[in-house]
Symmetry: C2
Subunit: 335 residues, 2 copies
DNA sequence: TTGAAAGCGCTAACAC
DNA sequence: GTGTTAGCGCTTTCAA
């Protein structure tokens, strides 16, 4: 019973190549791995045999034996279809690929249970490292991985765990956005926010409060709508805000999806409120939407570089990188 | 020298768990895999030992031995950051995950060499199947995989290979788009197209020619600009077209990226030409852009379902699914 | 109910 | 330059 797996799939093993070429297993291995100390004649025989049989090395077996762990890195995000996250993935992919690593992606839909089972699954699959946009409320469950698998948190910090983290300066960004609206003379500013439990939302909310407080405005609660995690909900929340009496004269939407949703609610208004959105997005320039810009590719890149460094033996304490945001005025925030 | 890999990483092996629990390797394996014929008492001892040691099963080793091949499926696309492809990825991910499979993604940047080396790498890693948006001009190199690894082509058909394929009806979609503009009274219609070598571009080009020919218009070559594969190039191509004398009164942009690029060129025009774009995109509704809509998630879903069926033993001949498009009038195509 | 031995496909030692 | 042996971490006979 030879080669239960590969052979069953009609795939030749190294042993068969060796037999076909009339050499030992080890010699075939040497040739196919480009190791020295083989005559060109034998090498050629082996290569021919491999081609004839359509041989393809089994890296999994190789890695198991050679003690190298796999060359894949897991990326767990909430939704691959959201450009913010797919751009993170892209940024990470570039760096990882350059380091000979492969990206395994998985979406959680903001579900903590899903996050845990995905982490579990990827660790069992022995990914070399994990990039994680967390959804869980606690990451103590990852404590046992310390010193085993590098984990880098993205966009949101870990809870109950000391780990490398790449964040955006949410609070300062939100504060700048709202300050910008206040500077434009607005006083009744509405907020369309993400799920209250997300740290990004809470930080942006805090930045909003900071700016309002700086301006001496205290009664803004009625203009706040949180827990919009999809565009349709954001559209409804926005419509609700506009129906408040008196209505807000400006809006702050706390992420790309909510900005899109709000824009739909404003589309048919003759005199839309001013708008600043957190997160830049495609065509915001054409639409003339003022945003608090950030660079997801950059986040992915930095996180991946942290991973590569850790894998290369960097044992310094966990670092947190906080990326600055940049207010990009494009018209909607200046009306 | 025990456990070169996992042990080096400080990770306990099943053998260590067994030793800790005072049972044999096999018994520990049985317990941790939920196999029957173990007393609850021994089972409990094993589980405690596993918890104490922080044991995590090594699926790679398991799969190697048990003859099961890996549970990952490779997805090779041109650019993960392009929403069209990330939505494909998302659609595929859902189906695969439900089937217990994991998605490994990689971007080619439209480079044929990159495609080949990624395919090679993923096959060596023994992915169970491959989803491929091809960039190469020839796929004969995949012929040897017949009967070994299911391959499903997405968005573009294979060349020199018989394989499952999921396409969009590019020609009919383009024809409908251009017919729509013609019906609006336009005669000088410009086209901003993708790389000429891409089948999608050629098909959409053919649909354009069909419609023009139907309308008895033959001199349209001067209004065609191909080889725009990024938004900036599309913006330039569009500006060039508008500078032709007499300028086109309408534009057909052949994909989402080119549509975005064209919109930038039109942004500051007082009297912009009509526009229909191939591919729907986020906020096209808010911008009022008429498009030939398609559904990338659906493509990913169908392709993944084909993969799942093949893995379940479907040996019927290769199928090609061609998805219809739908013209969505939103204003820009009707002016 | 439990365990010993064999072996997945490959590479690292160490011989020859 | 080439081959033999052992063994990665696990599961699968098959026997006890």
């Amino acid at each position: 019973m030879d080669g239960a797996r590969d052979v069953a799939a009609g795939r030749p093993t190294l042993r068969q190549v060796a037999a076909e070429a009339g050499v030992s297993l080890k010699t075939a291995s040497r040739v196919l791995n480009g190791h020295p100390h083989v005559t060109e004649a034998t090498a050629a025989r082996v290569r021919q045999a491999a081609d004839r049989l359509g041989f393809r090395l089994n890296r999994i077996a190789r890695e198991l034996r050679s003690g190298a762990t796999s060359t894949s890195v897991g990326l767990i995000i909430s939704d691959l279809a959201n450009p913010f996250y797919s751009r993170i993935a892209r940024g990470a992919e570039r760096v990882l690929r350059a380091g000979g690593l492969q990206l395994v992606t998985a979406s959680t839909d903001e579900d903590a249970e899903q996050e845990r089972s995905l982490v579990e699954e990827l660790l069992e699959r022995r990914v070399r490292a994990l990039l994680l946009v967390p959804s869980a409320a606690d990451h103590g469950y990852l404590a046992a991985e310390r010193g085993r698998t590098p984990v880098v948190f993205l966009d949101r910090p870990p809870v109950n765990l000391d780990a490398d983290t790449v964040l955006v300066d949410n609070r300062a960004g939100a504060r700048a956005a709202v300050a910008h609206l206040l500077a434009g003379g607005h006083r009744r500013i509405g907020l369309v926010g993400d799920l209250s439990r997300l740290s990004t939302h809470r930080e942006r909310m805090a930045g909003f409060a900071d700016a309002m407080s700086d301006a001496g405005i205290t009664f803004w609660q009625r203009y706040v709508r949180a827990d919009s995690h999809d565009a349709a909900t954001a559209t409804r929340s926005t419509a609700e805000l506009l129906a408040v009496d008196p209505p807000p004269t400006a809006l702050f939407t706390t992420n790309n999806v909510n900005t899109a949703g709000a824009l739909r609610a404003l589309a048919d208004r003759a005199d839309p409120p001013a708008l600043v959105g957190f997160d830049d997005f495609d065509l915001a320039d054409v639409l003339g939407i003022t945003v608090v810009g950030n660079e997801p590719e950059e986040m992915g890149r930095i996180a991946a570089e942290m991973v590569v460094a850790r894998l290369a033996g960097d044992h310094t304490p966990a670092r947190t990188v906080v990326l600055p945001t940049k207010l990009v005025p494009r018209g909607s925030g200046e009306r």
